[in-house]
């Protein structure tokens, strides 16, 4: 996976805060660029793809940050 243009550190934040951060910072990256959210919140695994579906963005997938925390990557489409 190419390095995201922006990575949001949402470790320790509970749902829906990681998704709120995603919504706030989407426009910080250009269309076509990747935005990642790093979070240990259990809901994010379901809610990042759901957010992409509802907001018309692309869910790229899940990998892990350097410390092993789950990282969810989206591509800004609009």
């Amino acid at each position: 996976m190419t390095a995201p243009a922006l990575e949001l550190d949402c470790r320790g934040l509970l749902c829906p805060l990681p998704i709120i951060e995603l919504g706030r910072h989407l426009t910080d990256v250009s269309v076509g660029e990747l935005l990642a959210v790093v979070t240990t919140d259990a809901a994010a695994r379901h809610d990042v793809p759901a957010w992409c579906r509802m907001r018309g963005q692309e869910y790229v997938g899940e990998d892990t940050a350097a410390d092993g925390a789950p990282r969810f990557v989206v591509r800004r489409l609009s």
Binding site: H46, A50, M54
Partner: protein
């Protein structure tokens, strides 16, 4: 009901006068429940809850199939009582995924049951969180002898029981009866062995002294609900239709579950960027009691496994369950406060 408290206090297993009275009341309750559900009286057992009925139903079929195999096939969206019961016994568990409205495909269930020796298949009648009905009879017709357990707690009384089960479970409080009464149904001729220590009751599938007055109250409530369900169900379905349309108009909302093939009284939706717990409290302050499947409202801090399996948004989730006397005015009052409650919470986070 008061007469039942007076007359039905004794142990129905005893031969003295009060015991015989209690036995008579319990048998009347059993007969009434059987008639209302369209089953035989000797297929009905009163349990201490719907959860207890689920445990006994699923695990009793499982135990009776020990010589065939110990695998349990279930949908990914079964009630947690089914999942916990399955996890309690050794054996493989095969979870069958659901589509975006929360429904399993018949082919997927049949394929999962065909992977290896299977003790029992569990398919709910309808989903307890999102209302989507499941193709129970179609699955049953294709199982070729593997017993089917149906958790009918969400639908019993409101809609007819589906065909094809070997055992099924229902819960009195879900149809407006008292808490503490569940109904276990075991089909005549189905192989069922108690998964728990035996008890020497009148009914071999029960444990302990039945709550006779509550069983009678449950039966009376069920009869009333079944008698008026055509009218109640039609009214509730129309109100749910109205709620779905109004909620869809709120931006960034995921309305969840099948819009047509569903329970009449249940509607579920999720609002993006909204804290489910905050929304439940905001609506409670305005006089509306609603449920949520969001992680922040759960004791486990895990999101609803049903919403997750559907790919639905799990945060900001609300589950609205209409009471049987809910009116157009009640629903309009709810819809009048909901958009502002949502937008206030969103405004707090700047979205």
């Amino acid at each position: 009901m008061l007469a039942a408290l007076d007359q039905g206090y004794a142990d129905p297993r005893r031969l003295h006068g009060p015991g015989r009275n209690a036995r008579l009341i319990l048998d009347n309750a059993r007969a009434a429940v059987a008639e209302a559900l369209g089953v035989r009286a000797d297929e009905v057992t009163f349990t201490s809850s719907g959860t207890d009925a689920v445990h006994r139903g699923l695990l009793g079929l499982h135990r009776a199939r020990a010589r065939v195999g110990d695998a349990i096939v279930h949908t990914a969206v079964e009630h947690s009582s089914v999942l916990h019961a399955a996890a309690w016994v050794p054996g493989e568990h095969r979870s069958v995924p659901v589509d975006a409205v929360g429904r399993v495909r018949v082919e997927d269930v049949v394929a999962a049951a065909g992977v290896g020796p299977t003790a029992v298949v569990a398919v709910q009648s309808a989903n307890h969180e999102v209302g989507t009905t499941q193709p129970v009879a179609e699955v049953a017709a294709r199982l070729d002898g593997t017993p089917l357990f149906v958790d009918a707690c969400a639908s019993a009384g409101r809609t007819p029981l589906p065909e094809g089960w070997s055992a099924a479970a229902a819960s009195a409080h879900k149809w407006g009866g008292p808490a503490g009464v569940g109904v276990l149904l075991v089909r005549k001729g189905a192989r069922w062995i108690s998964p728990f220590p035996r008890d020497d009751r009148v009914d071999e599938r029960a444990s302990g002294f039945e709550n006779v007055p509550a069983a009678l109250a449950a039966a009376a409530a069920l009869q009333a609900v079944v008698a008026e369900r055509a009218e109640t169900g039609a009214r509730q379905a129309r109100l749910v239709e109205r709620v779905r349309a109004a909620v869809t108009a709120i931006p960034d909302t995921d309305v969840v579950g099948d819009p047509v093939d569903r329970l009449p009284h249940l509607v579920t939706f999720s609002f993006l960027y909204v804290d489910g717990e905050a929304l439940v409290h905001a609506l409670d302050r305005r006089g509306f009691g609603v449920a949520s499947g969001s992680a922040c409202t759960a004791s486990t801090l895990e999101p609803s496994h049903v919403l997750a399996a559907m790919g639905a948004l799990t945060h900001g989730n609300l589950r609205l369950s209409l009471t049987r006397d809910a009116t157009d005015a009640d629903v309009e009052a709810f819809l009048a406060v909901l958009p502002a409650a949502v937008s206030e919470i969103r405004a707090d986070v700047g979205l």
